[in-house]
């Protein structure tokens, strides 16, 4: 999964040698590997690509990204997609965050 907007780490766990976090995006959350961003912890924002957090970003930058997405109307579309989440959870969860 690759999200256009950064997500916020809301939980953190160590599984074997890996550090994973629950990362919250626009209305959804997903487990993500945090091994590439050792400096990022609960409360921080990260960019995610195919299941891995690849970069920590500042809160200002994250909020700016959400604001731009909202201004373009795509965040609202994403929120509307939430309605269909029960039917196709995996697919919709990814679409809505784009």
């Amino acid at each position: 999964m690759s999200f256009e907007v950064p997500g916020k780490i809301i939980e953190e766990y160590t599984v074997r040698r890996n550090r994973l976090g629950l990362v919250q995006f626009a209305g959804t959350s997903r487990p993500v590997f945090l091994d590439l961003v050792p400096e990022a912890h609960v409360g921080d924002y990260v960019r995610v690509h195919v299941g891995f957090a690849t970069e920590r970003v500042s809160e200002e930058e994250a909020l700016r990204a959400y604001e731009q997405l909202g201004r373009s109307g795509r965040l609202e579309t994403a929120e509307l997609d939430l309605e269909a989440e029960e039917a196709r959870p995996e697919t919709v969860r990814r679409q809505k965050a784009r």
């Binding site: 690759s2 766990y13 890996n18 994973l20 590997f33 299941g51 891995f52």
Partner: protein, 159 residues
């Protein structure tokens, strides 16, 4: 207590999650996520394999045609890889892959992956070692299936 979704994630991404960070940083930009509905043929036997897939969720039947019949060779799950042919020079597939349920994969374009492995032999070697472990597991599993299937009648004949 670690929630199940994190344990499942670690298992599903076992090839990538076991790699060194510097190797991952080179590999991840080559990856994209793909999704297939149940019943979709992901690649056909004798066709060209463009992607090496790491299955992150769902089930896939690996099949081959023998005498006009389609035979299931193996069922793949999250954590398994498929599409090895994408790493070979001619990219010709030896099996058909069919999604048994909605399937998600992390897919690497074979040509780009080969180029990157040539450019970064250390990363390439790390990836190949991981993939070889998976192939070994698959061979063992297939052997157990074949041996198990053949021995059963013999075992029942023993006093």
């Amino acid at each position: 207590m670690i929630p199940d979704q994190f344990l499942e994630m670690a298992q599903a991404y076992r090839v990538l999650s076991g790699m060194e960070p510097d190797q991952l940083r080179k590999l991840l930009p080559l990856a994209e996520e793909k999704e297939y509905p149940a019943g979709r043929i992901i690649f056909r036997e004798g066709g060209l394999s463009s992607f090496l897939h790491l299955i992150t969720s769902g089930e896939v039947a690996l099949e081959m045609k023998i005498g006009g019949e389609v035979l299931r060779v193996q069922t793949l799950h999250a954590g398994d890889a498929m599409g090895w042919s994408a790493l070979t020079a001619d990219c010709t597939t030896h099996f058909q892959a069919r999604a048994l349920s909605p399937v998600s994969t992390v897919a690497f374009a074979g040509a780009r992956l080969r180029e990157e492995c040539d450019r970064n032999p250390r990363m390439g070697y790390g990836l190949m070692k991981r993939l070889l472990e998976l192939v070994t597991d698959r061979l063992d599993a297939t052997r157990m299936q074949l041996v198990g299937g053949r021995q059963e009648p013999e075992l029942t004949r023993q006093p």
